[in-house]
């Protein structure tokens, strides 16, 4: 009995620390930030174009925002390799859908598909935060935000990425009117009702602020604007509607086209 007891005791005194494993880490963080805001009949999806790893800027222009269909735009942020490959798979699924059903997938269906695709890799996740923006079947502007394993919800606005903590409280204040009250007797604030010009300047302010205070944000930004069917574009294309330094282009329809229009606005950000 004494022997029996001694044996495990002696064993327990051996060094039990495992060798220092240099296990391959399949993830990286490539910085940057994304943001989306929904309006009544439009949706704005934006991201900066810097890609970094640690203190190194890998490139000053890498995309994070992608046009999926005529009424859906997806922004990805986190591990860039996962982001790019996730977008590639989403686009492939959308193509298959169109072949099978002879129509593009609707926004809320894309959102649900993204959730299943993300959860499908629950135990080796895509290290990516996704924000999906676009126009819903009923013509309303919509934003869906996701966590890396697929939890999602529809919201009026969302910021994600390196500067999420800088931008989101600002958006709470300016989009959701948090901690603000209307003057007595005036109309109540309704989130998601702001005019396009206001939303655009909030997006620009968010990114210039984040650029100022966060080293991983900067270089440039791309703002995608998805307009609902038959919506006027005067508040975007009209004389003097864009801020200084902005360049705009209209992205052609991807499919048959049902009247939604997508515009891409680019603007430089500080490079330091």
């Amino acid at each position: 009995m004494a022997l029996y007891h001694n044996q495990p005791m002696a064993h327990a005194q051996e060094p039990t620390a495992a060798p220092i494993e240099h296990r391959f880490n399949p993830y990286s963080d490539n910085g940057g930030s994304i943001l989306a805001i929904a309006g009544t009949d439009f949706s704005v999806i934006a991201g900066d174009t810097r890609q970094s790893e640690g203190y190194n800027i890998q490139t000053r222009y890498a995309r994070k925002v992608w046009q999926l269909t005529d009424k859906a735009v997806l922004a990805t942020n986190g591990f860039a390799a996962d982001g790019n490959n996730f977008v590639k798979r989403v686009k492939q699924r959308l193509e298959w859908y169109e072949h099978a059903h002879h129509k593009p997938m609707g926004l809320k269906s894309i959102a649900r598909m993204i959730q299943t695709m993300l959860y499908g890799k629950r135990f080796f996740p895509y290290y990516v935060y996704n924000i999906l923006g676009g126009i819903e079947e009923d013509g309303s502007g919509a934003v869906y935000s996701f966590d890396p394993v697929g939890s999602y919800e529809r919201e009026a606005c969302r910021a994600a990425g390196a500067a999420q903590s800088l931008i989101q409280p600002f958006l709470d204040n300016q989009i959701y009117f948090k901690n603000q009250q209307p003057e007595p007797g005036s109309q109540p604030f309704i989130p998601g009702n702001l005019p396009l010009a206001t939303v655009l300047s909030l997006v620009v302010d968010s990114f210039t602020s984040a650029t100022e205070r966060h080293i991983e944000v900067g270089d440039g930004m791309e703002i995608y604007i998805v307009m609902a069917r038959d919506r006027t574009t005067d508040d975007l294309l009209g004389e003097g509607k864009l801020q200084k330094g902005m360049e705009i282009e209209e992205l052609g329809t991807l499919g048959e086209g049902q009247g939604e229009r997508t515009f891409l606005v680019r603007q430089a950000l500080k490079r330091d």
Partner: protein, 280 residues
């Protein structure tokens, strides 16, 4: 005693392994850490780079793109192979510059050369277009990402330089063991990202401007900048060699230079205590 084996570099060597201190060949059973346990779990794919190449530089210029890499393949801190070519042409208009594990690089060469032979054969028989730099880059990106997703990475960082015959413009892009990809008018891997990239960007932006709309560097200017960068790397990167090649990719095709050296200056060293001859 400090271990010289790449797997345990810089760690103190275990007391019972006083022989073969400077393992000059890979020993599969080399002890990792100081544990007496031989338990490493189930045999995994995970590897580590053994024989490695250091920085690769890339720079777009007027009429093409240049890639530079030195001729060294290191074994840990040992300058093991000093005449290795790390620039590899693929077809008429594409070239890889490879850093990282050299055996993975050789495997990669074999695979890609085989693929290109098939493609060449196809291109002879019908109107099958030859692989563009972008095609090859896409393939590499998918390969690297697929392998990292299997937790069996191809342990390299690769610059792909090329000339797009259709768009009539140069091509320069990066892909690494994580499947991370990006493009830029100037690129550098490893130490080069710290030491050479700022010099490359400065030279590029001095003429082209920050938006790249101005005139590009001439061939001569680009070559001068790359030679300066290779010299800086040789001075400060302990795993580099003053023997390197520069590849030039234009509409004319790929040209890989003979190995060359930068003119270096070491006079200052004589005045440094502990470096030059001791005078007291």
């Amino acid at each position: 005693m400090m271990s010289q084996h790449p797997a345990t570099w810089g760690q103190p060597t275990p007391a019972n392994s006083s022989f073969n201190q400077f393992n000059t060949f890979p020993l599969p059973q080399t002890q990792r850490g100081q544990s007496s346990h031989a338990h490493h779990g189930p045999v995994g794919h995970t590897q580590q780079p053994l024989v490695t190449g250091t920085s690769v530089l890339g720079l777009k210029y007027d009429g093409g793109v240049m890639i530079a890499a030195d001729n060294l393949a290191s074994y840990g801190s040992l300058a093991r192979f000093r005449d290795i070519q790390r620039l590899h042409p693929l077809g008429q208009h594409t070239l890889l510059g490879v850093a990282g594990d050299m055996s993975d690089f050789q495997w990669l060469k074999k695979e890609l050369d085989a693929l290109l032979r098939e493609e060449d054969a196809l291109a002879l028989t019908d109107s099958h277009p030859s692989l563009s730099p972008k095609n090859i880059y896409e393939l590499l990106s998918n390969l690297f990402y697929a392998r990292r997703s299997k937790m069996n990475p191809v342990w390299n960082a690769v610059l792909v330089g090329g000339w797009d015959k259709v768009k009539k413009e140069s091509f320069l892009a990066y892909v690494d063991l994580l499947g991370t990809t990006y493009t830029a008018p100037t690129l550098a891997t490893g130490f080069g990202a710290h030491l050479a990239q700022p010099l490359l960007r400065e030279a590029y932006e001095a003429k082209a401007g920050i938006d790249g709309n101005g005139p590009l560097l001439t061939k001569e200017e680009a070559e001068k900048v790359l030679e300066d960068c290779m010299k800086v790397l040789f001075y400060r990167d302990a795993r580099s060699l003053n023997k390197y090649q520069i590849a030039t990719i234009t509409s004319e095709g790929v040209d890989i230079s003979d190995s060359k050296s930068a003119d270096t200056y070491w006079k200052f060293a004589e005045g440094l205590r502990g470096y030059g001859a001791q005078t007291q």
